[in-house]
Amino acid sequence: MEEFFNNIKESFKNVTLEFETINIQIDSTEWIEAHLKLRDEFNLKFFSWLSAIDWDNEVSVGDAPKESVSPSFEIITCLSDLANTNLTTVSTNIDKSDPKINSLVEIYAGSNWHEREAFEMFGINFENHPNLEKLYLPDGYEGNPMLKSFELISREVKPWPGEVDVEGMPEESESDES
């Protein structure tokens, strides 16, 4: 893992290793070249997944981020290598008002379905995708469910009760047995 990390650091500018996961942060205009490089030079031919994170300050479900963030989509792919078992994630940020990015279908054939899912869940437009249509959601579904602003109907009816502690921790509750 260490030498792979060092190798990658030489080719890309913004590489971090935290919690045993390497993350390469690149600009959205370099998306295709970076992946080509990772596939050919570093031999990362296994396409694991592609997904997105919605960074926003106003959330309708869950908790808002602790520090204020600038609203954007962060698109992450995860690539790995079957022989040496190297793994890396590649992330980029794109604009939320007009989300679009190049599709990786030419480079990794497996990104086809992942991009379709990101398209319907977040509303991200993947250019040059052969068949960008919905994967999971039924026809006529309005909205993009994974956006932080998308409301969960069940939480409208009954808000989340928060952390409900049903089982005491072993050392403290000697007398707490059922």
């Binding site: 479900v61 952390e163 502690d165």
Partner: protein
Amino acid sequence: MVNALDPQNMNRFSEASVSVEIETEDMTLNIGPQHPSTHGVLRLVAKVDGEKVHDVKPVLGYMHRGYEKLAEVRSYPQITTLVNRIDWVAGFSNEIPFIAGAERLMEIEVPERAKHIRLILTEMARISSHFVFNGAYALEVGALTPIFYAMEDRERVLDLIESVTGGRFHPNFNRIGGVKPAAGAGPTSKKNIQDLPAGFYRDTKVAMEKVIQAADQFQNLIGGNEVFKKRTKNVGVLTAETAEAYGVSGPILRASGVKSDLRTQTDYLPYDQFDYDIPVGENGDCYDRWDVRVKEMVESAKIVLQAIDSMPSGPLQAKVPKVIKVPQGRTYVRAENPKGEMGYYIVSDGGLGPYRLKVRTASFSNVSILPIMLEGALLPDLIAIMGSLDFVLGDVDR
């Protein structure tokens, strides 16, 4: 009346041809969502010409439960309950990478005994999942008897899992920092470390011996069966390059010749203490996929036998605070699920629950190669190929 013997007409009548190309149209056949062989509610819209399948378009989403959105509204222990149900055949193995990810972010050291128990239960879940595959695959190919044998042998393993965790399919046994102290073990204090039920060692040994015998029986009865071989050899061949590009993992990848097993990288479970083989296939056809899984069952049984012999003693759970808040950070944890590679990408913001949880399931990528593998196959081959991919709809649709 035309004079047939007139020489002027002879040319016309001698133009008759024997075989004329009949124009046929493809029939659109809807396989599923309700079908005996689609392992759930998978729908395939197939264009069929007689028995030949021209084009297959999978339609997913009949079982989409929105795990990633649900996870944003829940705390980590609550998500553990949810996560069992992604791949419901091998329930325990879905929890492990998620809990390991949370533990990695909190930097907790899990006690050895808990790691061993987790490993044993994961391997038992793998055995249980492969039994289901064996029985169901034989049923799809047409042999009506092996499913009963598979289910009977599987009951023993499920009984063992139930005796430890209390649940057969959805154990919900992991806690952040270790495993749950067994129900009915009395007040859990430092003195009382009796947590596995009485007779567990003996019952496990018996069950694993029977598993090895059953796998041997399957190899002889089904694998040696001429009709089965004819139905599955050279059917649905998948090359290693295609598999890699599409993200196909697990036994399917190993059957195509790639010796890659994520258990060798799983550092949060003590796989390096035991020795086991990694079965690899040659051709990448349906027979190899079946064969690899039967051999994996035997390897898992061997791992369990070694693990219960060398079980260390100690606490079952590390010290964790009462209210679990995972510090900020992100990590990707992956594990070798029975179906393939399963991973969780946890983006944590310091709250009670994750800011974003991405679930990478094995069957999603495995099913994406169906349109390629089914080119030019016959309809019974479609059933055989789908069965050999061994996917579960909860895994595909999340």
